[in-house]
């Protein structure tokens, strides 16, 4: 019985996506579809506290429902909710069949939640692939537009290759260790005799490479800008938050279980990746003129920051990771949310010129965007600052000086391109811009953006409650 209680969010999400499928099959209507998407998501969010009463709970060897998993589940569900609400207006511009988008969205969310709760390679694989396969379709969803198709097929092939790498790594580890359970793996590792084995290490490297791809860490980042640019804006929002968040949650759990900080090779590789991601992400972002590409590179850099927090390990590192994820979700949903509400599938507003003088037309929207960008840059009064502060603190505690130094350089470089966007927002508008903005925003999108902005401020000024909460969650993981 407690199995069921623990699984409630996941089960309801599954049921919800089935129900949504039927709804779409019988009453094809956009607004109704949105409702049928939002309702199960809200319901699942409601279930999280109930599921939390039985944590930690291992459901079969595959899934573990603990506070950590529920934390990410909540985050993912909320992000999916935001994407659905933000995407509503965007999809109205699609012309035909916007409904399946929501089905795929729910499925991808389901995959992400499975990933967050998985404690076993099989559930890892299942979650990851439910997520990825849904994403392929989501990315190419506006199927009459060439950029989407290009993005979809690029992601499909590269993501497929990375999945194969991940799988090969798992196979190697399985061949060597004879188990697919993280927990069992760690007990085997604690005996200490196998960890230097070539197959095992190769497997580990393969796994890290595969996951790095999904997290678009350098040097596995090459797909990122193109896919971000070509994908429909709400999907980009989803990709950058939910997909990466879930994979990272999994990686962190895996890292803790195999006690990654004891594997020198692993930490060296990850440090190198973090170092490269921060620098390359920030440097390449400087060269872009396309907002989605800028945000793509910025997300590479931010994932690098998160990796620094992961490497800092310890309870503070874990807290920093979780806090930063919350902030990262809000910031990126906000940023891509703005892009989403201004765009339609036929006309993605993504060039810097499209945003020139936005402030003088839509001050609230531009203000919100500014705020989000400042948060991405880590300026005080925004939650992004607290997040960065957390990471700084964690890396000071762990004495990761070179990485810390890289963080500073990265943050400074980051300013250049965030400020470029902000400047564009406040420039005097060019004449033709006025007519290309949508006349009104859908209520759902406006409310969602306002909420995101509010959260950024609230947690930027008074983060204590969130910190307390995250601390209790992090305690259960370690």
């Amino acid at each position: 019985m407690s199995d069921f209680i623990a699984l409630l969010p996941l089960l309801l999400l599954t049921l919800g996506s089935l129900a949504l499928t039927l709804v779409v099959a019988f009453y094809r209507q956009h607004r109704l579809t949105l409702l049928a998407t939002v309702f199960p998501l809200l319901l699942c969010l409601e279930m999280i506290p109930i599921a939390a009463t039985v944590t930690p709970h291992q459901v079969s060897p595959l899934l573990i429902i603990d506070q950590y998993a529920l934390f990410y589940t909540g985050l993912i569900l909320a992000a999916a909710l935001a994407v659905a609400l933000l995407g509503y207006g965007y999809l109205q511009g699609l012309g035909d069949q916007p409904e399946e988008f929501y089905m795929l969205l729910l499925l991808a969310t389901l995959g992400a939640t499975v990933l967050a709760a998985s404690n076993h390679f099989i559930s890892l694989f299942l979650g990851l692939e439910i997520l990825s396969v849904s994403l392929f379709a989501l990315l190419a969803y506006p199927r009459h537009f060439r950029p989407s198709l290009e993005a979809g097929v690029k992601y499909l092939i590269l993501s497929g290759a990375s999945s194969a790498m991940l799988l090969f790594g798992i196979a190697l580890i399985y061949a060597e260790m004879g188990t697919l359970e993280f927990g069992h793996l760690s007990t085997l590792l604690n005996r200490g005799e196998i960890s230097s084995n070539v197959f095992f290490l190769a497997g580990l490297v393969f796994i890290i490479s595969g996951l790095s791809f999904k997290l678009s860490w350098v040097p596995f980042h090459l797909w990122t800008p193109d896919v971000y640019q070509g994908a429909p804006a709400p999907v980009t929002a989803f990709l950058t938050t939910v997909s990466k968040g879930a994979v990272f949650a999994l990686l962190l759990r895996f890292f803790i279980q195999v006690e990654g900080d004891n594997h020198h090779l692993l930490t060296v590789i990850l440090s190198l990746i973090a170092w490269l991601s921060i620098l390359v992400g920030n440097l390449l972002a400087l060269l872009q003129n396309n907002i989605k590409r800028i945000l793509a590179y910025s997300s590479i850099a931010h994932l690098g920051y998160l990796l620094v927090a992961l490497l800092a390990s310890g309870s503070l590192g874990m807290e920093a990771v979780m806090f930063y994820w919350v902030v990262y979700f809000i910031m990126n949903l906000g940023a891509f949310g703005v892009v989403t509400v201004l765009s339609s599938p036929a006309q993605e507003k993504q060039n810097l010129e499209d945003y020139q003088g936005l402030f003088w037309h839509r001050p609230a929207l531009a203000g919100m965007f500014t705020f989000t960008l400042l948060s991405l840059a880590g300026i005080p009064l925004t939650a992004g600052f607290i997040g960065k502060f957390y990471i700084f603190t964690a890396s000071v505690e762990a004495a990761l000086w070179p990485l810390l130094f890289t963080l500073i350089i990265g943050s400074t470089l980051g300013l250049f391109y965030y400020l470029r966007i902000i400047i564009a927002l406040y420039r005097l508008p060019t004449a033709e811009i006025e007519r290309v903005y949508p006349s009104t925003l859908p209520l759902t999108s406006s409310l969602m953006l306002a909420l995101l902005a509010l959260l950024l401020v609230w947690w930027g000024v008074y983060p204590e409650p969130l910190m307390q909460f995250i601390q209790t969650v992090a305690m259960t993981l370690l």
């Binding site: 390679f121 099989i122 694989f125 299942l126 692939e129 396969v133 392929f136 379709a137 190419a140 199927r143 009459h144 060439r146 950029p147 198709l149 290009e150 993005a151 979809g152 097929v153 690029k154 499909l156 092939i157 497929g160 290759a161 999945s163 194969a164 799988l167 090969f168 798992i170 196979a171 190697l172 399985y174 061949a175 004879g178 697919l180 197959f199 800008p225 193109d226 640019q229 070509g230 060269l287 872009q288 003129n289 396309n290 590409r293």
Partner: protein, 102 residues
């Protein structure tokens, strides 16, 4: 039954995997890239079968079935996408459909 050392199986899988990887990296035709992808996935499937055989557990085979499913799903979506791409771009050359630059 004849028993084959586990390493041989893994080496074979690794060779296949590399073959597929090279295909993905080198080929420029989307169909071939997709096929190379399937080769990679099947190579991992083989690796799982070998590994499962070593431990005498069904997990390897279960994983193989799951991988097959993934391969099928990926092929399904991949082919649909390729079809659309052919319709819109008139080519399957990966370099020529790559229009985004930055």
């Amino acid at each position: 039954m004849i028993s084959i050392p586990i390493e041989h199986g893994l080496y074979l899988a690794a060779a296949l995997f590399l073959l597929g990887l090279m295909g993905v990296l080198v080929r420029r035709n989307l169909i071939f890239m997709l096929m190379s992808l399937e080769i990679m996935l099947n190579a991992t499937g083989l690796a799982f079968i070998v590994a499962g055989a070593r431990w005498g557990e069904a997990e390897g085979q279960i994983f193989f079935m799951l991988i097959l499913t993934l391969a099928a799903a990926e092929a399904a979506i991949g082919l649909a996408l390729i079809l659309l791409i052919y319709r819109h771009f008139g080519t399957l050359d990966a370099d020529r459909i790559s229009e985004m630059r930055g």
